[in-house]
Symmetry: C2
Subunit: 410 residues, 2 copies
Amino acid sequence: MRQSKFFTKVSRDIPKDEESYNAQVLIRAGFVDKVGAGIYTLLPLGLRVLQKINQIIREEMVAIGGQELQMPALHPKEVWQATGRWEGFDALFKLKGSDNREYALGATHEEVVTPLAKRHVFSYKELPTQVFQIQTKFRNEKRAKAGLIRGREFLMKDLYSFHADEADLNKYYKTAQKAYFKIFERCGLLDVTYLTFASGGAFSKFSHEFQTVTSAGEDTIYICDDCQIAVNQELIEEHPHCPNCEKTELRQEKAVEVGNIFKLRTRFSDAVDFAVKTAEGDMKPVEMGCYGIGPTRVLGTIVEVHHDDRGIIWPETVAPYQVHLLSLKQEKVAEEIYEALLDRGVEVLYDDRDISAGEKFAEADLIGCPLRVVVSEKTLAQGNKVEVKKRNKQESELVTISRLLEMVKK
Amino acid sequence: MRQSKFFTKVSRDIPKDEESYNAQVLIRAGFVDKVGAGIYTLLPLGLRVLQKINQIIREEMVAIGGQELQMPALHPKEVWQATGRWEGFDALFKLKGSDNREYALGATHEEVVTPLAKRHVFSYKELPTQVFQIQTKFRNEKRAKAGLIRGREFLMKDLYSFHADEADLNKYYKTAQKAYFKIFERCGLLDVTYLTFASGGAFSKFSHEFQTVTSAGEDTIYICDDCQIAVNQELIEEHPHCPNCEKTELRQEKAVEVGNIFKLRTRFSDAVDFAVKTAEGDMKPVEMGCYGIGPTRVLGTIVEVHHDDRGIIWPETVAPYQVHLLSLKQEKVAEEIYEALLDRGVEVLYDDRDISAGEKFAEADLIGCPLRVVVSEKTLAQGNKVEVKKRNKQESELVTISRLLEMVKK
């Protein structure tokens, strides 16, 4: 992409109405635009990152048998009444239609997926089965000051699993845990993300959150460094020990809940009479699990974890472009390099604008592509070379153009 | 995909609460599930079709310079007040947040995209520029009985173009028209889709709809068979002639409005003071165009246009799977063919279930994949062959397995 044609611009001003670092830098660098508190437009740069995060999540969900579908955001009141959550669910947006019916905006989808599964799954022979979606959710938050980390509107991947018995649910729950760690590994968050024990509600001893340590976190977690797991605030108040080794010296950290998994057991299948035929011929309520992860929240969290005082440092796996090519008044050679990189399938952001070198360097650091390539009179004078520098390293080096093409080979 | 593992099932029953053919057959065949009137879940089969339609639209929008972004569905009341449409816009869903603010659910996005462009575009040198999204819209419809063709919640591709002057807008408008015809060609709708003249509102003589002729249409259009264009109901009442040749004998047809394009001129840039610097150094309001197409509506329309009394006949370009492989108790050979097809990158739905041949044939016709491949004792007895039949043809033929692999080569 040529920056001269790019719809968005980098801004020098720090947005005054944003407290969080992730929103400030994402707005300044042109990844998102703020429409209201907790409501953002994903601009072309931001959407590219989001689509990469989505694709990582999608691949890992398909790998554990998830079939993708897309449920609606508009939910008739009746489905929420059926589970008793129309009144009780926190932060549910409600609205009235001109058909004189009431609707909720989906904050979660147990209310939709359970009746759906009931219409399609009839026998234990068809279990286990799992469906997931990557879909927009709405929460009527009183406060929304954490940027992409807590939106009133946000993207969510939610997978729902259905099982003939508890043992099979438990087995799949472990499989999903592993898939989640693969996702966080691929998104560059593994080192600071902890499996965190949380309350399991009425039906299960524990549920689990995936908490990423960052000072921007709205949650507090208690890490057992021996077991490499953590406990959330609510649970620690009940039982101030590591749930694995019972140690009491736990390290307290701020963290963002980037995912959670929960054994729903028969809470929702009971509510809508979703039972299937067993091998013995009688009917048994279906065991369910749900597995959430917020791609927009992951995006905001990556920014909180991976930045320095000059801007974002995207992991290669989710970077909007792999290469940021800066032409310092050397358009002829830079154009050739740009075309050669595109020919090789490399994602390139090409700064072909007529602005100062200083501005170009500052913007490249702010936007944070993994590899910066500079073409200048000075670099070309030294044996027709270009300067390459990794965003996460201090050193740069001069390389020939053919060596550059070798380096970025896909 | 093995049908034995598939989440959804085909149903024998015609849904009683659906009047439209597209919803009836899409629900029966397991492409969609009804959550409420005009509110559907896209099931795995339906989502595959929708993603293909989206990708066709995306490619054609990128080809005419569109940069993809994603605006939110939740709009603060203030942005709709700024353009004077909070009260006037038909079928706007409104709701109240726990922050005591009012919100609209986006029915269209001029109110969001114009202030956004104002924050990023400052000079005539940066024009023209175009952004688009494929995003969920909401309309508070009183009636929603046309299945996927009129949803309360539906997917929309909306592109917005920004220009320094009217001549440039007019030029791009023509470019967009051509791109739309490419989309309808790729979706198998070109032969029955007409550029249809509609009222241009206060700022332009005409706007244009793309109307697809089908008895399921909610609109009436008047076709000039000489010019291969049409006029919509509203315009024909004002002036009952072909706008091109002035002929009065026009053919009346029912049709679905699958897309529309509109010169907004400065209607929205004026409302939010979006002006850019001209070459002469003064400020001039930006000329805008908007270009809509509904992927979920296109999906429903394809089904209305392409079916017979046994079910859907998907065009290859949007089919959920290219091949429907039916094993009539010949799992050993069928498995080998299934794996060989997957190895070659062919999309295959494989009916490996233990049900009758009659049921398998009926379901294959209902689901409507372009090529049906049957492996039975009878076909294998005739020189180790399989039967292949195109969904849109009567004849079938027996071919060797290597010939089959040749036929479906990508």
